[in-house]
């Protein structure tokens, strides 16, 4: 048994206990850990946001442009948004400042501009991404071809049968998600089969995840028993 002499290990062990105490019930130790976590994580975010975004993407290009202007006068290339030194980086800054207009009575609608930029761009980007990245490969994978039955191309009788079950499962699951049709007759059969597939899938995912989550707990216990207390080698 050899206790750790590293201050950070002791801090880590203490914080682990703070968090684990929540399993018993809410208590001042957990509250301490929780508030410290939120505070430190936010401080870290602020520091990294400045060091990795604001400084290199905005402050430095703008500062550099000011320096060049002071030394060599104003030049057209200082207004090229892609240049390493340019004045235009101020525009995103100004748009960002629009967030603060909601404290100005009567001008709060300006907040909609930065929000609109985000909502618009990302909903747009998502469309080809899901079609290309999800719909095409998923549909492609669900269609059954003769190759699935062919041993020469890595298939076989059973893998062909399983491919057909997968296809039926996909169709049934899609049927379950029909909103504008009441689940009656053939739709009902399809939808109920679909939900059985879904439940089996969810159970399997749950069971499959246990190992990964227990691994995390093992990792923590090993930290306490080995790194901190030194009970096990």
């Amino acid at each position: 048994m050899s206790l750790s002499t590293d201050i950070w290990v002791w801090i880590g062990a203490f914080l682990t206990f703070c968090i684990y105490s929540f399993l018993y019930k809410d208590n001042p130790l957990y509250k301490f850990g929780e508030h410290l976590y939120v505070g430190v994580a936010n401080g870290w975010s602020l520091a990294f946001m400045y060091l990795r975004v604001i400084k290199p993407v905005m402050v430095q290009p703008f500062g550099e442009a000011c320096r060049i202007t002071a030394q060599e006068g104003l030049r057209a290339e200082l207004f090229n948004p892609m240049a390493p030194a340019n004045f235009l980086v101020i525009i995103p800054g100004l748009i960002g400042c629009l967030y603060f207009t909601r404290f100005i009575p009567g001008q709060a609608w300006l907040v909609r501009f930065p929000i609109g930029i985000f909502m618009g761009y990302y909903t747009g980007v998502a469309v080809p991404a899901v079609i290309e990245g999800s719909m095409f490969p998923q549909m492609k994978g669900s269609m059954v071809t003769l190759a699935k039955f062919d041993a020469a191309s890595g298939g076989g009788f059973w893998s062909g049968i399983f491919a057909i079950i997968v296809l039926l499962g996909v169709l049934a699951t899609l049927t379950y998600f029909f909103f504008s049709k009441e689940h009656k007759g053939i739709t009902k059969v399809g939808a109920q089969t679909g939900i059985v597939f879904v439940m089996i899938a969810f159970g399997a995912s749950f069971g499959f995840t246990v190992m990964a989550r227990v691994s995390l707990a093992i990792g923590r216990m090993v930290f306490l028993l080995r790194d901190w207390l030194g009970i096990v080698s």
Binding site: G43, W44, A47, V125, V170, M199
Partner: protein, 219 residues
């Protein structure tokens, strides 16, 4: 005007976001990378400042009003302040103007990340092992046929994951693999395909101005 102008901007951004994928031209590429790497990043940095202001004011308010747990609000504010100062002035690995080493004890922002944030995160994350057990105990009950299907497949897969399952029967790991590859794949594909359409419809509803909750009050 107060609605149409932001909506027009949203539509332009949305259509560009969609069309960009189909435009290999370097011009489109350059504009997109400006948008994504400069414009949106800077705007979201301002959102973070707004958010942090909101958080700190809320806790300052708690301290002022001596609300429940106000002492812990001090922990939060001090933790935030110290970390931010160490990070902003001390640099990523202690190369900044603020000294972040006393004797052998180093406390630059990377140390704080490794020494505080990683143990806190790992501990929170590992609570899942416990919560999985309690959730399974509470919910895996064969109240209906569907619940029984859920329970049974979870049970078999759990068994197939450990050596015990193999010892009971070598077929159990195989059944596990079958469940993962056949019913699991089918259901997930069905859900994913539905999601594809949901994404598309959400895009259209927002662009067409049908879904307008994002516009908020404007006041």
């Amino acid at each position: 005007m107060r609605e149409k102008l932001p909506l027009a901007l949203l539509i332009i951004m949305g259509l560009f976001g969609l069309a960009y994928r189909f435009m290999p031209h370097p011009g489109a590429e350059a504009f997109n990378s400006y948008l994504r790497d400069t414009l949106l990043r800077i705007i979201s940095a301002f959102a973070l400042i707004l958010g942090l202001g909101n958080l700190l004011l809320r806790h300052a308010h708690r301290i002022q009003k001596r609300e429940q747990d106000w002492v812990h609000s001090w922990v939060l504010i001090l933790g935030f302040g110290l970390t931010a100062i160490i990070g902003l002035l001390g640099g990523v690995a202690g190369e900044g103007s603020l000294p972040t080493k006393v004797g052998n004890f180093s406390f630059n922002i990377t140390d704080i990340y490794n020494g505080l944030l990683i143990p806190l995160g790992a501990s929170m994350f590992s609570l899942l092992a416990f919560y999985m057990a309690s959730a399974a105990y509470r919910s895996f009950r064969a109240k209906t046929w569907l619940a029984a299907a859920l329970l049974l497949s979870a049970f078999i897969v759990m068994l197939g994951q450990v050596p015990l399952g193999y010892q009971i029967s070598p077929a159990i790991p195989q059944v596990t693999q079958w469940i993962m590859e056949v019913p699991n794949t089918a259901a997930k594909r069905g859900i994913e395909l539905g999601i594809t359409l949901g994404v598309l419809a959400t895009f259209l509803k927002i662009l067409a101005g049908i879904e307008r909750s994002w516009l908020g009050s404007g006041r």
